[in-house]
């Protein structure tokens, strides 16, 4: 389905202004099949804005996005989701008062079989619970005992796990994660990193935003450096040191020609 040379997801010249703040100043992005692409940058560099544009949560003022070589334009997160792009937002985007299963299936609920589902549009709650259970088990999330539990009763780490599980369960083309480990403990972070590797190994490309350099250098295949609303450089993890990446990121060093 995807050729190894055409980027799965490509952005060109994305621009987004908020009043007189320019969040994206014409940024590019290339995500190759099967890779983990890390996006790093200072606070306010436009990382979240970039991935929001890719996931339809934000409509850019200008610029183009292509998915598997075909131009797309996402008017809402639903459009991106329908194209197989799943996103874990920095703000998590879960509904605290709903249970885990409802959250997992939010916006793509399963309906009962037969007339009950097609005409009366009744949800198949049991099926969703069981499926949620299976998903969580599959990801090794064992501490969540009851998929009928309200998300607001979960710890921060468990909530993060639900958001990640949702993306992993439904993503069919691309998975995007915006600082998924920011609030997590060492062990929980570890589990998320393992999950990212696991997803990649199944052939799905992943975009990972993180401020944690050791994490980035552990899992990323390539590193996209965002600076002042633009892509400053794109580095191969194998060919760059952590300190050089940080130096480019903060503007202390200019990237080499080959990196641009």
């Amino acid at each position: 389905m995807t050729s190894p040379d055409i980027p799965v997801l490509q952005a060109r010249g994305l621009i987004k202004r908020y009043g007189n703040v320019i969040a994206l100043a014409g940024t590019d992005l290339d995500l190759m099949p099967g890779e983990i692409l890390a996006v790093i940058g200072d606070n306010g560099a436009g990382k979240s804005s970039l991935i929001k544009a890719l996931s339809g949560a934000l409509v850019p003022d200008d610029g183009t996005i292509t998915l598997d070589g075909k131009r797309v334009s996402f008017g809402s997160p639903i459009d991106a989701r329908d194209s197989g792009i799943e996103t874990v937002y920095q703000s998590l985007a879960v509904a605290p008062s709903l249970d885990i299963a409802s959250n997992l299936f939010l916006g793509r609920e399963r309906r009962r079989k037969g007339i009950l589902g097609s005409v009366f549009r009744i949800l198949d709650r049991d099926a969703m619970r069981q499926e949620a259970r299976r998903q969580l088990d599959g990801l090794g999330i064992m501490t969540i005992q009851n998929p009928g539990q309200a998300v607001e009763t979960l710890s921060g780490g468990q909530r993060q796990a639900v958001a990640v599980a949702r993306a992993a369960a439904f993503g069919s083309r691309v998975i995007i994660m915006d600082e998924p480990t920011a609030a997590l403990g060492v062990r929980e972070s570890r589990a998320v990193l393992d999950l990212i590797l696991h997803v990649r190994d199944q052939g799905l490309p992943v975009i990972l935003i993180s401020h944690n350099m050791p994490h980035v250098f552990e899992v990323a295949d390539r590193i996209h450096i965002q600076r002042l609303g633009r892509r400053k450089a794109i580095l191969d993890r194998a060919n760059v040191s952590m300190s050089d990446a940080v130096a480019i990121m903060t503007g202390a060093m200019e990237p080499q020609d080959g990196d641009r």
Partner: protein, 346 residues
Amino acid sequence: MSTTLSTNRPSGGAPSEGDHPHRSPLTRLQHLLHAQATIGPAVVLLLAVIVFSLLSTRFLQPANISLVLQQVAVVGTIAVGQTIIILTAGIDLSCGAIMVLTSIVMAKVSAEHGLPGVLALLLGFLVGAGCGLVNGLLVTRLKLPPFIVTLGTLNVFFALNLWYSGSATIRGTDMPALLLWTGQTFTIGGTRVTYGSIGMVLLVALVAFVLKNTAWGRHIYATGDDAEAARLSGIRTNRVLLSAYGIAGVIYALSAWVLIGRIASASPQAGQLENLDSITAVVIGGTSLFGGRGAVVGSLLGALIVGVFRNGLALARVDVLWQTLAVGVLVIVAVSLDQWIRKVRP
């Protein structure tokens, strides 16, 4: 190091608050009774009933209970629509105005223009839905707070009602029987019950079921909980909000039907207090004004609590003045008690 995505809580996890996939009917019932949003108002209602039945022997007579059901039918029906709006973190001050307008439309087109009852009802539902959609469009397109939108449309709908009705009450005797049907009674176990009261109870059951068992229902909760999170989760929140206001409008039209049956006429002066009364019912029923938490069954209980209170005080021959005061105190006490009950739960 573990390679599973697992987190740990010192106490072994939060109490389970949802339902388990496989349960006996009894467990289901038990869970229903303990559902967070309705246990509080149920206890308050029980307390009120106990107190009033001690104060007056008439209180628990079937005829009186049927009476209370009739008396809360209108506000109880409106409260169902109000609950949906409040669950989306909105508030509807225009509900009473929509009800009056639709009742006048139903009555007038049939009484004066000779439209058959069914068509008059249908037209009323259309008008109700239209008014609701106006609210919904203003909320979703202009991004105005619902409080402000409905504060504005409250005046608009009420003025339209006065204009269309010419401020004249339309008598039931001029209307087709169908419009008055909600006021008709039938007998269960020797007690007369109106179709309007039964309609209210069925509506509550239906909406409770829909909220729980359809995607739309889940989306109402998710949108009210955190609209931005819901949008990012792939919910078309604007569409959800619009449909919520539209459906609430239809429910207000239903309440107009109940109202016509109840007073056997259509009065353009009605409905001016229904906004605060329905909000009171919803709030006593345990639904959060911040959205996303609550249940429509609670609102029915809330309406019943107020109804039982008014009726009980009247039977106990308490003066109107003190009834007003008592209802004020009731609102505060009932909601405090509800909050306290929730805290006490494990």
